[in-house]
């Protein structure tokens, strides 16, 4: 190909514009030149790495600033545009933010279709072939109003609001030990596209007043927050939350009453929630250890609440008791076969700054954080169990391998979305609902009492002696004494499992 000069369209450059807008500008100012031809020329000029978007961006006099938020490069952000901005060849990635409900410049609603040609906003390939003045390669006669001065400061305010970042750190859980082990977190830090982001960011960096946010058409979804002081790990005389003793003989150790109290609080809440949604169905803790998919296919339907609570309790209890036998105690082949994935883990939080400083949180916050993790952990398990039960029913019908469409577990975040920040010398944690379970409506299961009883009888008939675990949660009052009894029975089970293992040696 004979080299040729590619016009860039500097005269139409606007602040904070997206790479899509830069590409559209490039196409407008090179009328009649196919996109593929422009791309080939730019590849020869700038190299073959990257996309045409990045190559066009490299031609700009003022490329995107280095501190442009990475998660603001919203994939397919062109799908949502302001019609008036589009007629001025303008588009910015922040228009894809779901919490930005109107154009902050023209105050009109975003659309998914061009108002001129009534077609969906074009992707970069369709853009090159479209001559529509509203969304495509507009001729110069349609661009006479582009040089009218437009105030892009509102865009800049929003970008500045998004870009604010505090000290960087890593939030994790694990033992209070410099060598942290981070398990699957029960929380997920939200990104800039999350509806909760404006409220979280406004709390962190109050650069925009609520009135100004309304003027900029930023939808504000309130969040809750809790805060704690940060305790340097070096200053902690001993690990604040638990003591553990690991010996060759002891299979369980005495744990902090603090942990047991937190476990009890969480379990009590969960049991009462189950009662509300099942008309006080009696809930049992069973041992489903070593059960595979085949067992559940042949057995009567199990109660999802009992199954979920059992899995939850065993996971929570074993990690408070003994790490050494965790894999044995929580050995669930049916979970692996059903590709349920790893369950979330609730532990006390810690924080590590990128300078290497390690901090714990105050006791009240840590306990609340841990309890919240337990509640979310249960909700996560319950949702997986409901999905998995459908799989079992399909297997009974078709008697075949797992259907492909059921393999992939996509767990919707059950109130895992959150945000956090260090402001001053305090840690802030932002979240939406105080009790995530209160905002979850499980599917109705008719005849749950008889269903549960049938499975319970089947389970007790085939269970091995050393593996028996069948505990009915006392209702309506599930007391701390009852919880301790449950915990002691669990310890006894672990002891039996350990003895059985030693017997095999």
């Amino acid at each position: 190909m004979k080299p040729f000069y590619v016009n860039v369209g500097h005269c139409f450059a606007r602040p904070y514009e997206s790479r899509y807008a830069m590409l559209r500008r490039c196409l407008v100012v090179n009328p009649g030149v196919p996109l593929s031809t422009i791309d080939a020329r730019l590849r020869a000029l700038l190299g073959i790495r990257g996309s045409i978007l990045s190559r066009v961006c490299a031609l700009q006099l003022s490329p995107a600033p280095a501190d442009w938020p990475r998660d603001l490069y919203v994939n397919q952000s062109y799908r949502r545009q302001c019609p008036q901005c589009a007629q001025q060849l303008y588009h910015t990635d922040i228009y894809a933010l779901p919490w930005l409900v109107r154009c902050p410049i023209h105050h009109c609603a975003f659309t998914e279709k061009c108002p001129v040609c009534h077609q969906p906003w074009p992707d970069r390939v369709a853009l090159a072939k479209r001559d529509c003045p509203g969304c495509g390669r507009a001729s110069i006669k349609y661009l006479t109003n582009l040089l009218q001065s437009t105030d892009y400061r509102p865009i800049g305010e929003i970008v500045d609001f998004i870009k604010r970042r505090g000290p960087e750190y890593s939030l994790g859980t694990g033992r209070g030990h410099p060598e942290f082990i981070n398990f699957d977190h029960w929380w997920r830090e939200i990104g800039v596209c999350d509806p909760l982001f404006p409220a979280c960011q406004a709390h962190r960096y109050p650069v925009l007043s609520s009135a100004r946010m309304a003027e900029l058409h930023i939808a504000y979804k309130p969040v809750r927050h809790r805060t704690t002081s940060l305790i340097p790990a070096d200053s902690a005389s001993e690990l604040p939350f638990r003591r553990w003793i690991d010996t060759d003989l002891a299979v369980y150790v005495i744990k902090s009453q603090w942990y047991l109290a937190a476990d009890f609080e969480a379990m009590k809440y969960i049991v009462s929630w189950i009662a509300r949604h099942t008309a006080s169905h009696p809930v049992y803790i069973h041992g489903f250890r070593n059960r595979d998919t085949n067992y559940f296919v042949k057995a009567p339907d199990c109660c999802p609440y009992c199954l979920a609570l059992s899995l939850w309790f065993f996971n929570a209890a074993v990690r408070q008791c003994i790490v050494r036998y965790a894999g044995d105690v929580n050995h669930y082949p049916f979970c692996q076969q059903g590709q349920m994935g790893d369950f979330l883990i609730a532990r006390e939080p810690h924080l590590m700054t990128y300078r290497g400083g390690i901090f714990y949180m105050a006791k009240n916050f840590a306990m609340w954080f841990y309890r919240r993790g337990l509640e979310i952990m249960f909700m996560d398990i319950l949702q997986r169990v409901f999905k998995w039960r459908k799989q079992i029913k399909m297997l009974r019908k078709h008697d075949s391998v797992l259907c492909e469409q059921q393999r992939c577990w996509t767990n919707d975040a059950p109130d895992e979305r959150c945000s956090s920040a260090i402001i001053g010398d305090r840690f802030y944690f932002f979240y939406e609902n105080e009790h995530p379970l209160d905002h979850y409506t499980p599917p109705t299961i008719p005849g749950i009492d008889s269903l549960c009883e049938a499975h319970r009888r089947h389970l007790s008939a085939i269970r091995r002696k050393f593996d028996i675990f069948d505990y009915e949660i006392p209702q309506p009052d599930f007391s701390y004494a009852a919880f301790l009894t449950l915990f002691q029975e669990f310890n006894a089970l672990v002891q039996r499992i350990s003895d059985h293992r030693c017997g095999w040696r």
């Binding site: 080299p3 016009n7 369209g9």
Partner: protein, 315 residues
């Protein structure tokens, strides 16, 4: 560190396109063009005899144009080729070709026009300037209707808030018929836009001007830290104090004979530099600086081509 090797024949005297001599006409045309730009002129015409140095002067000038605030003005130079078919499309094609924009046989005139408009606009924005200059050389090859594309460029760039000034350069005798056509009412918009301002570009018209050009041979150096142009070819003579300007009187006297006989208004720079270069490269090194007579100078002027050309014009 050794001196880089310089090829003897790399000297600008051997390459007419690289030989740049400042003449009073160039300085005057620079002042004139700046005056047009600073007073908001939309165009102008620069007319002169053939081979007088217009192209060289304008090519040097376009990179030196400044606003009143001494900001550089982006400019573009284009030469109109001689074609059997003179169309609007061919103008836009030539403009795009000169700017190295993509041109294919299937391109439409409006696409080519817009492509060139945006090219100029890009240059203006890069220079942070709201002005642009387009120099159109060999304007005598245009048909009157072919001036409309330049008006279109002006109009479209105005929409982009860029003031375009188009400078047309052409040969005075060949442009006469064009000027007569443009005088017609149908081309009033062209005349008013591009030909309100015009100026003549002469060659060397006085002995002092010619002496000034000869003095540049005695001052310009090649390479930058090397000998002067004169010393490059006549080192011994220059070391003895001889300078090329010594010949200015004799040369002008000889030229005056041709000027009277053939009614030449000025000494075109092509012919002047050809004569001086022949003298400097061949005759003076061979015969020495002491034996320069009128016959030698006549021969140099003859070799420069001034005489055959004038014979054709007189015929």
């Amino acid at each position: 560190m050794g001196q880089p090797h310089i090829d003897y024949y790399d000297h600008p005297v051997f390459h007419p396109n690289r030989l740049r001599l400042e003449t009073p006409a160039m300085k005057r045309i620079g002042e004139e063009v700046h005056r047009w730009l600073w007073t908001g002129a939309t165009g102008g015409a620069i007319i002169g005899a053939a081979r007088v140095g217009k192209t060289t002067a304008l090519r040097a000038l376009v990179s030196q144009l400044r606003t009143r605030g001494n900001e550089p003005i982006p400019s573009h130079y284009v030469t109109i080729p001689n074609r059997d078919q003179r169309t609007i499309l061919s103008i836009f094609r030539q403009l795009c070709l000169s700017a190295k924009l993509r041109v294919t046989p299937r391109d439409r005139a409006d696409h080519l026009a817009d492509r060139f408009v945006y090219y100029i606009a890009d240059r203006a924005v890069e220079a942070d300037c709201q002005y642009a200059v387009l120099v159109v050389d060999e304007m005598q090859r245009l048909w009157p209707a072919q001036f409309n594309p330049f008006a279109e460029l002006y109009d479209k760039l105005s929409l982009l808030d860029i003031n375009l000034t188009v400078l047309f350069v052409g040969n005075d005798q060949e442009c006469q018929h064009l000027f007569e056509q443009i005088e017609q009412p149908a081309y009033a918009h062209i005349r008013g836009r591009f030909f309100t301002h015009s100026t003549a570009f002469p060659g060397l018209t006085t002995k002092e001007q010619m002496k000034g050009c000869l003095a540049q041979y005695d001052h310009l150096r090649y390479p930058a830290d090397g000998p002067t142009y004169t010393a490059y070819f006549l080192p011994d003579a220059v070391q003895d104090g001889w300078r090329l300007t010594v010949l200015s009187g004799a040369m002008w006297r000889v030229f005056r004979e041709y000027q009277k006989n053939y009614h030449i208004t000025s000494w075109g720079m092509q012919y002047f530099t050809a004569a001086v270069n022949t003298l400097l490269i061949d005759f003076l090194p061979r015969y020495g600086v002491e034996d320069v007579d009128d016959e030698l100078l006549h021969e140099c002027i003859r070799i420069s081509g001034l005489v055959p050309d004038l014979v054709q014009r007189a015929g």
